[in-house]
Symmetry: C2
Subunit: 205 residues, 2 copies
């Protein structure tokens, strides 16, 4: 069984790369399916699950403050349970024994014993803003500054969640096998290059 | 003309990768030839040139201290001249118009206008120590701690020289197209994977 994990900066095209890579290699693709499975196991709403899993626990309000908002305290308990459920869902995926690409969720660390090929996908801020613009939904009219703030905020949370779960820094090149800067690529052209690399990686093992 | 530049942590196998990549792709390989060319142009000894180019200018002794060692002051003047000569040598290489691999010398930044594919090669400290051990010359008997100190010292200098010349951080994944962690590879198996990637890169341009 071959597992490819993709961690990525928001707007870097990492998700698109994961999807295309799975298509090209005939691998299963996991991304939002993981959130859906966690939601189902926890009898919670998908959006709630996603939000809880992407908000670092220590960004929760202080205990005193929380006291007046009991839902926040509930949220924190949920978060820890959800992290456990996430681990189970990822282990279930691995247990199927199918070749797959998993985007996000720190799957590279949680499934380390299955020796995934782990990729980190990054891009310059300029390229990320451009990519966000291109895939913006109709009616979404953020300024470049607003998009940049969104990118920074999401990536800050991803970095903190990773540090919490894994104890290692997010985006540190030594924590991944390959770090790809997509600034000068369109993802469609990049895909076969990464697919070749992945093939070689799994062959040499 | 295709140029591949390789920046690398000491002991990561980046030089070996560069050599093998050049062999595999039929590209010319430049590494110590550059030092030799600079030495020739400057009528200086190769070892002296290499040392001067790998020592950050601001690590020179203070002016007062230097005063009593006039050779140090000479050294500093030489450094700046050597950086200019290095630029000329790299530009001469590019002017030949041949496909080539260039290891080190911040060639990715100096030759940016030629749009090289720029790689950064890193590895875990453990893997780097192991690699240094394997290629140690007979009679070289450093402890792991001594090897680690050597690696850190050389890489610290490389980082500072890069910052001085380019104003950008050494090893920042956004400063390269691809960052390869060689910890779990032998360089021989890695070479065709990177060669494939490079081929795709130049094809898409």
């Amino acid at each position: 069984m071959h597992i490819i994990t993709i961690s990525r900066q928001f707007g870097s095209g990492g998700r698109e790369l994961g999807k295309r890579l799975a298509d090209k290699m005939g691998y299963r693709y996991y991304d939002r399916e993981i959130i859906a499975a966690i939601a189902q196991r926890s009898h919670l709403n998908s959006d709630y699950v996603e939000n809880a899993l992407e908000t670092p626990v220590w960004q929760m309000p202080s205990p005193t403050f929380r006291h007046s908002f009991s839902s926040d305290s509930l949220f924190q308990t949920d978060q820890l349970n959800l992290l456990l459920e996430q681990r189970k869902v990822l282990e279930d995926i691995a247990a199927k024994g199918e070749d797959c690409v998993i985007v996000g969720r720190n799957a590279d660390v949680i499934l380390a014993e299955f020796h995934p090929l782990s990729l980190f996908v990054c891009a310059s801020m300029e390229a990320k803003i451009q990519r966000c613009r291109e895939r913006a939904q109709a009616g979404e009219n953020l300024t470049d500054k607003q998009i940049q703030q969104k990118i920074k905020s999401i990536d800050k949370n991803r970095a903190r969640v990773r540090e919490m779960i894994t104890g290692s820094a997010w985006g540190d090149p030594l924590a991944y096998h390959l770090t790809v800067n997509t600034s000068d690529w369109d993802i469609k052209s990049l895909t076969p290059a990464i697919a070749d690399f992945a093939q070689r990686w799994f062959e040499k093992k």
